[in-house]
Symmetry: C2
Subunit: 145 residues, 2 copies
DNA sequence: AGATAGATTAGATCCATTCTAAACTGTTGA
DNA sequence: TCAACAGTTTAGAATGGATCTAATCTATCT
């Protein structure tokens, strides 16, 4: 974990910076720190409040408003994907590739289903002037009766 | 639209009453009126605010709190199904049979996809102690680029 | 009809999210 | 290098959907 230059795969500090630049977002202290929290450990599903708390723990000074702004900007830039599975709360998924979700309703646990394993067939015809943005599949699990 | 007795299929006034009774809910004036609004014209997707406005238009005196209560009770009783497609707003679907949805993101229009036409294959294994409650598919449409 | 559990209600409250407008900062170009 | 400006951050206010409270009302049972 030093600042030295090395292969792309192992550049934990400059990778977030590149992401921001590519997305046309100014690499500010706050955005860099949040990008680091979001992207440095695999696929995650976070809410704004969660990320804000995490930032606080990591001694990153950032307001809740900025966390919201940043999550929305990252989403618009394609760095995150919004997941709507629960009324009244938004989650953001760091996995932006084509995939689906399993939700354990009782616990709120959300997991990815890799794209390849699941297939949807028989999609209806798309009305004129519209196109499919994406197809979301959510498998809802409950405790066995 | 008269109160006369006739075959089950065409009994607009007593059908809601039967529904409530079967669900173990007291047939109050408010619940009957809301059931009538909800179920007397085909499959619908409504929010609480929408239904409340509709009730007002129909000269049905009912508070917003009761609309919320009723929608939740009906959902618990299996008369409605909650549809989560938009962060921060709940919709209730009068179609409780197995089916999916198409959402026109730009307009907010929500339409049903009949169960038969669409198939999901390759569902992941279900962890021990859990079972599939249901599988929701949402096809998101956007204006063609 | 009287008793009572359940239902309704207005208004307060909650909570996630967005807005506001003032202060701050990254970037650009002289 | 640094002034200037557009973009960013921020605390706190505002918004909006949904729930809660506790007082009043009503369907139901005896």
């Amino acid at each position: 974990m030093s600042g030295m230059t090395m292969a792309t795969e192992a550049r934990p500090f400059s990778e977030p910076l590149d992401r921001l630049k590519r997305a046309g977002l100014r690499p500010t202290r706050q955005r860099l720190a949040l990008a680091r929290l979001l992207f440095s450990r695999g696929d995650r599903h976070v809410s704004a409040e969660q990320l804000h708390a995490e930032a606080k723990t990591a001694r990153v000074v950032v307001s809740l408003a900025t966390v919201y702004n940043t999550l929305n900007q990252f989403t618009r830039a394609g760095l995150l994907r919004e997941v709507v599975v629960k009324a009244g709360r938004s989650y953001f998924d760091t996995n932006t590739s084509d995939h689906h979700h399993v939700l354990a309703v009782a616990t709120g646990d959300l997991m990815d289903i890799p794209a390849g394993t699941l297939a949807v067939s028989g999609l209806p015809e798309v009305p004129d002037g519209l196109e499919v943005e994406r197809v979301d599949v959510v498998v809802r699990l409950r405790p066995r009766a």
